[in-house]
Symmetry: C2
Subunit: 685 residues, 2 copies
C-alpha cells in the first residue's frame, strides 16, 4: 500500500542525480525544479556538491531525514541505499526508476524481493522498479516529459507501463486533459495497479479527491481487489476508464467443451469490467476521449441537442450518437423555439441539429445554449464551432467556456479547427476545458460511457444455495467429468431444477425407472462423452417393450457403463455454461441453445456470483431475448425462472472452484418451468 | 463536367477582390499569391487599382481573355459577370464562392439556373456557388485556410461541404496527409461530386494522376454515375474512401413489409459502396487515417510484423488488427531470427510484436526492418517508436524514412510522441511521410481497408432473365399487391423456381388442382394480405375430402377471392427480398428465413443487378452461412442454386423498377433444390 509521504513529501532525495538532463537522474531533478515542488530537495552524486542548484552529497549517510527517495542508480546499489534510507533516515516512500530487476532475470527478481522485504519491514512503500516515476500536484518525480498540468481537478492515472503512460499523456494534453496523480508501477514489486486503486478508494474524500480514474493494465494480478475497489469508487461517484491490453492473445486456448471455446480470459476481463462499471477502452485515443467525457458534467439522460455552425459535423455526430443508442430528438414547436429562431440569422434551423450557419455569432450561440438549458427537452449539448481561418473566434469560445460553467446540463465542445484557430483553442483549454477535435470519436466515447451500466447501489447478492451440501459432494468427487448422479446432487443442492432421471445398469432397473418417471422417456448411454455422435441417445420411448429393446441396444455401445432413463421434456432450448478463469473465478454464460449459441454466438457473460439484476440484464442483452419473451406463435419461456437458475448456478460455482467447466445444454423452458435436461461438469483440483 | 482551365489556368481573375484578408475576396487573393500560382492574376474592385500588389480593374469589361474567374461578389451581380466573361473574355472555368443562391430561396435557385444556362451555352464549367473554392498543385483558389501541401503525390478530395472540407484538411495535416486537387462543390449547380469523379476517371493517367480519392458526400444525386466511375477508378488501381453523412436519419421510414423495415436508403449507400469497392468511413479522423493508409504501399497479404520499442502499444495494435481479421504471426525459429536477436540488446524479443526495448537504436531498427523485408513471413510492418523526452530521436526517424522508401513491403509508422519529439515528427512528415499517432486508430483503419473487397476485374454480370416477358407482364399490372398469377408469371420469366400452385375459385377446380399437383398440398386464401393472421393457411392436406372441406372453410374468410392450392414443400427456410430506393435502384436482401431475419437481423444486402460472385459473397457473409452449409445433423441447402436465384431476382428487378417491394418468404431449400413458397410483390409507378 502507498502512503501520504509518497503523495505529499516534505523532502525528496534523488539518488543518482545528474547535471545532464538527457539522463534520467538529471531530468528528474529538472522536472522537480520546474514543477512546483515546495519542500526540500537533495541530490546524491559521487562527485558534485551541487546538482542543478540543489545541494548534493556523496553518500546517503550524509542526509537528514527524508520522506521520499527516488533511485536512479544501477540495480546492484539499490538494496543498500534503500536499507540505509529506510532504517536510518526514516524514509517511508521510495521510487526506483532503475531497470535490471525482475524484468531481466532471476537474480534481478531475487534482488527485488530483498528490497521489498526491507520496505515491508520498515512500513514503507515502493513504486517500481523499472518505472518512470510518480506525479502528484505537489511533485513531478518522473524522468520523462511531457509534464501535464497537475491539479486535484485532473484525473488520477495508474499505468502498468511507463512508455505507454507517456504516450497516453501525450494523447491527452492536446485535448486539454489535466491530471492529478500519475503512477507508473513498473514491475509492481511492492505496489501494483490494484494496490494504488485500493489506496485511492480507502482515502477517497467526496468533493476533494479526483473523481476520474484512468487505468492502463497489462496484467490483472488481483481481480477481486480490482473489482471491489473499482466498484466501491464508482459507487462513491467516481468514473473509471481502463485499457486492458492483450484481448486477442488469450483467445486461442483449446477447450473440450464449447463453453470453453466461447470464453477466454479476455471474457473474464470483460465480465469483471462490466460488473464493476469500468468503461473499457481499447486504445490511447479512446481512453483520453472517454476521460475527457468524464471531466465534464454528468449526462443524465439519453437526449442530446447538437448545436453547430456547419452541417457536416452535426450530421456525422448525429449518426455516431444514434448508432450508439443516444437520441437526437426533434425540437418541438413552442414559443421558445419561435423566439430563438428570431434571434438567429435567416436560414438558421432550430431542429436538431440546431444549425446557426457559418456566420453564427457568440451572442447567438449563447441564446441557443440558454434555450437548450431551460426550454428544450434535451439532457445535454454538443457544440460544434470551427473556423475557415478568416478571423479569430475567441469571443465564441469565451462564451462557450462561460456557459459550460453555469449550465447544469453538460456541454461537449467540438472545436475542429486545431490549426486555423490554434491560439483560440489553446486559450479555451487554458481555462480548464477539454476539447473533442473529432465529433465522431466523441460520439463513440460518449455512447460507450452511456452504455456501461454502473453497479447499482442496492445490488443484492443473495446466496440461494446449500453451501454445505455442495462442499460435501465436491469433496467426494474425483477429477474429471462427473456422473449424472453427482450432477443431480449438485443441482439439487443449488436448487437447479432438472428432469427426473435415473441411471440403470440392468434391464429391470431401466423398466422400473421408466415406470417411476412416467412415459414418454429418453434413454442415454452413460460413459461416452459425445453421446449423440455414438448414437447413444434415444428419444420419445413410449412403453416398456421399447425400454427393454433400447436398453440392450445401448449397452452394446463401446464404453457404456449404464443407461440413463430421463423424463422427456419439451420447450425452448436454453443454454448455460461457465469456465473457471485463473484468479478471476467463473465466467458464466447464458443464451438460447443449439444454433443460437453455436453458430450465431449469441451469448451473454457475467462474473460469478451474479445478483438477480445482473442475471436479468445478461438475459435481456441477448439478441434472442425477443424469442425468449415469445415471438409470433411461439410461446416464450419464464424469464424470471431463467434468471433465478443463472443466479443459482453462479453461487454453486462460487462455492465450488474445483468445477473448471460446466455446460447445461440444453435446458428446456416454457412459460411455467425450466428444466435442465443434460449437463456436463468437469472437476479439476 | 470540369475542364483543364479549372485545374491549370494560365490566368485568373478574382471578382470582388479585396485588400482585407479577413474577407473571402481578400483571403483568396492572399492564398493565390502565397501558394505557387505561376500565371497572370487580375482583380476586380470598384475602387482600387491594385489589390495586394496585383493589377485591379473596376469592371470585367476591361479584362483581357481569362481562363478562370473566381466570384466573391453578391449573388445578384453574378449572372451579369459570368455572362460577360464567358461570352466576351473566353473564360471557360468559374468558381462562385458567393452564397445567396439555391440554398436560400426559390429566387436564388432561379438565378443559379440562369447562370448554369450561360455556362453550358459557352461550354464552360462552374464550381459552386456557395463553396470555398478549388485547390490544385498550380493554384490555391480558396478563401479558407489551412492550405495543405499541394502535390500530385497527394490525394484528390471532393467535398459536398466547404466547412467540412476545411475540418477534414485540418485533421489530415498533422498526420502528414498531402493533397493534390481539392474541390468544394457547394450547391453543385453545374458540377456535383459525381461529375468531378467522372472527370478524374476519364482523364486518369496511370503513374501520373493522384491514386487516392477522398469524398465527403451529403447527398448522392446520381448513384449510377458514382458507382461506375468509382468502380472504374478502383479497377485502374486507385483507392477511394468516402464519408456519406446521414446514415441514421433515414432509418425510420415506415414500410409495409419487413423487407422495408430492414432496408433504408443507407442500406443502398452501403450496398453501392461495397459494390464499387469504396472504403466507407464515418468520421473525419477515420477518413484521414484511411487516406494515410492509402498513401503508403499496398499491403498484399494479411500478415503484419509489429516492431516496437514499447510493449503496450504493440499489444494494443495486435488486439486491434486481430479483431479486424489480420494476422500477427509468430516469427518462426530460423538462422535469420537468431542472427537478428544477436544484433539487439539483451532482453529484446524477436517474436511478434518484435520488441527491441526502450533503448533500441536506429541501427537495430534497420536490422529488424531488413529481416522483416527479406526473411520473415510477413506482408508488411508497423513500426512504433516514441520518446520519453530525454533526447531527440531524429536518427531513428531518418532511418525509418529511408527504409519506407526502399522496402517493397509497406511500413506503417506509429510515432506517438507528438509533443516530446514534435520537431523530429515534423521533420519526418516533411520528407513526404505520414504518421499514425494512435496505433489503434491505424489498426481499425487498416483492417477496414483490408476488409473492403475491390471489384474484381473479371466481374461478370449475366442477364439470366427473359426481359421481354417480364416487361409484358409488368405493363399489364395495376399498382398495388399482385396476384399469385402475376407472381408466377414473373418468376417463370426470371427462372425463379416456385412450388407448383393454382388458384381455384370453385370446389371442383380445387380438387382438380390438388390432383394435378399431387398430395400433400397446402391451401391458402387469395385476397387478404396477412393470410396467417386470418387463419387463411392450411398445411398438409392429404386427400380430396380434406380439399373439399377446407375449400368451403377458407371461402368464408372475409375478403377471400379464391383459394390457392400449392405443392407442400419442405426444407430449410430461406428469405429473399428487395426494396426500390430512389435513384439507387433495388437493394436486394438475402438470409435464412423466420427468426434469423426477423429477430437476429442476419441479412446481407447488395445493389441490383448482382453478379454471381457478388451473390455468393453476400450469402457467405451471413452469420447463418454455417447452417446453410449443413450443421450437425441438419442438412444444408444448395448454395449455388441460392446464389443463382439471387442473381435472377436482381435481374428481374433491374427490368422492373415498378416493383417497389418484394418479399420471397419463405423459400424452402435442401441440397438439391430451392423453391419459392410464398411471395408478395408491390408495384407502384
Amino acid at each position: 500500500m502507498i502512503n501520504e509521504k509518497l503523495l505529499h513529501p516534505e523532502s525528496i532525495v534523488i539518488v543518482g542525480a545528474s547535471n545532464n538532463t538527457s539522463k534520467p537522474g538529471g531530468k528528474i531533478v529538472k522536472n522537480l525544479l520546474d514543477h512546483n515542488f515546495k519542500g526540500d530537495l537533495f541530490a546524491i552524486n559521487p562527485v558534485e556538491s551541487q546538482i542543478q542548484g540543489i545541494p548534493a552529497f556523496h553518500s546517503v549517510a550524509e542526509l537528514p531525514d527524508i520522506d521520499l527517495a527516488i533511485l536512479a542508480i544501477p540495480a546492484k546499489y539499490c538494496l543498500e541505499t534503500v536499507t540505509q534510507l529506510a532504517e536510518e533516515n526514516n524514509t517511508k516512500a521510495f521510487i526506483i526508476i532503475s531497470a535490471g530487476f525482475g524484468e531481466t532475470d532471476e537474480a534481478g527478481k531475487e534482488l527485488e524481493k530483498k528490497i521489498v522485504d526491507v520496505i515491508e519491514k520498515n512500513n514503507a512503500c515502493l513504486i517500481g522498479p523499472n518505472c518512470i516515476g510518480v506525479m502528484t500536484p505537489s511533485h513531478a518525480s518522473v524522468f520523462t516529459t511531457p509534464i501535464p498540468e497537475l491539479t486535484h481537478e485532473g484525473c488520477d492515472f495508474i499505468s502498468g507501463s511507463g512508455a505507454t503512460a507517456v504516450f497516453i499523456i501525450e494523447s491527452g494534453i492536446p485535448k486539454g486533459l489535466r491530471f492529478a496523480n500519475v503512477f507508473s508501477v513498473g514491475n509492481s514489486a511492492h505496489t501494483g495497479v490494484e494496490d494504488i486503486l485500493a489506496y485511492l478508494d480507502e482515502t477517497y474524500q467526496p468533493g476533494i479527491s479526483p473523481r476520474v480514474k484512468l487505468l492502463y493494465i497489462e496484467n490483472i494480478n488481483n481481480p477481486d481487489k480490482l473489482l471491489s475497489h473499482a466498484t466501491s469508487l464508482i459507487r462513491k461517484g467516481c468514473r473509471i476508464a481502463a485499457i486492458k491490453a492483450g484481448s486477442s492473445s488469450a483467445g486461442s486456448r483449446a477447450a473440450s467443451s464449447h463453453t470453453g471455446a466461447l470464453t477466454s480470459s479476455d471474457a473474464a476481463v470483460e465480465a469483471l469490467f462490466r460488473k464493476a462499471g469500468i468503461v473499457r477502452c481499447y486504445g490511447r485515443e479512446e481512453l483520453t476521449t472517454v476521460a475527457s467525457v468524464f471531466m465534464g458534467k454528468e449526462l443524465e439522460g439519453e437526449k442530446l441537442g447538437i448545436i453547430t455552425h456547419a452541417g457536416g459535423p452535426g450530421v456525422m455526430l448525429t449518426d455516431a450518437l444514434e448508432a450508439g443508442g443516444l437520441k437526437i430528438p426533434e425540437i418541438e414547436d413552442s414559443p421558445a423555439k419561435t423566439a430563438l429562431l428570431k434571434k438567429l440569422f435567416p436560414g438558421s434551423s432550430v431542429e436538431n441539429p440546431i444549425d446557426f450557419l457559418a456566420t453564427g455569432t457568440a451572442e447567438q450561440l449563447g441564446h441557443i445554449i440558454d434555450a437548450c438549458e431551460k426550454d428544450f427537452d434535451v439532457d445535454g449539448m454538443a457544440v460544434i464551432y470551427g473556423s475557415p481561418g478568416l478571423f479569430p473566434i475567441g469571443d465564441v469560445y469565451d462564451l462557450l467556456s462561460e456557459k459550460m460553467k453555469v449550465c447544469k446540463k453538460p456541454i461537449y465542445p467540438i472545436l475542429p479547427s486545431i490549426i486555423n484557430v490554434k491560439e483560440d483553442v489553446a486559450h479555451f483549454l487554458s481555462r480548464g476545458n477539454v476539447n473533442f477535435p473529432d465529433e465522431v470519436l466523441l460520439g463513440r466515447a460518449l455512447t460507450k460511457v452511456m452504455n456501461t451500466p454502473r453497479p447499482s447501489a442496492s445490488e443484492n447478492f443473495t446466496e440461494l444455495v446449500n453451501r454445505d451440501e455442495i462442499r460435501s459432494v465436491i469433496e467426494k468427487c474425483e477429477n474429471g467429468y462427473q456422473s449424472p448422479d453427482v450432477i443431480h446432487q449438485l443441482f439439487n443442492s443449488a436448487g437447479i431444477p432438472m428432469v427426473k432421471e435415473t441411471v440403470a445398469t440392468s434391464e429391470s432397473e431401466a423398466v422400473l425407472a421408466a415406470l417411476n418417471i412416467g412415459f414418454p422417456v429418453v434413454m442415454k448411454v452413460v460413459g461416452p462423452v459425445h453421446k449423440t455422435e455414438v448414437g447413444g441417445v434415444v428419444l420419445n420411448i413410449r412403453n416398456v417393450t421399447e425400454v427393454r429393446k433400447e436398453f440392450h441396444h445401448l449397452f452394446q455401445i463401446e464404453g457404456t457403463e449404464g443407461v440413463l432413463i430421463a423424463q422427456m421434456a419439451s420447450g425452448t432450448e436454453l443454454f448455460l455454461g461457465a469456465t473457471y478463469e485463473d484468479t478471476f473465478g467463473h465466467v458464466v454464460l447464458c443464451g438460447m441453445g443449439g444454433i443460437y449459441v453455436e453458430v450465431m454466438k449469441d451469448v451473454a457473460s457475467g462474473l460469478a456470483p451474479l445478483s438477480n439484476t445482473e442475471a436479468l440484464s445478461m438475459i435481456k442483452s441477448l439478441k434472442s431475448y425477443k424469442i425468449l419473451q415469445g415471438f409470433r406463435n411461439q410461446k416464450g419461456v419464464n424469464i424470471e425462472k431463467f434468471a433465478d437458475i443463472l443466479v443459482r448456478l453462479s453461487w454453486l460455482l462460487r462455492n465450488a472452484i474445483e468445477i473448471k467447466e460446466i455446460d447445461i445444454n440444453p435446458l428446456l423452458g416454457n412459460e411455467n418451468e425450466i428444466l435442465a435436461v443434460d449437463a456436463r461438469i468437469r472437476i479439476e483440483r
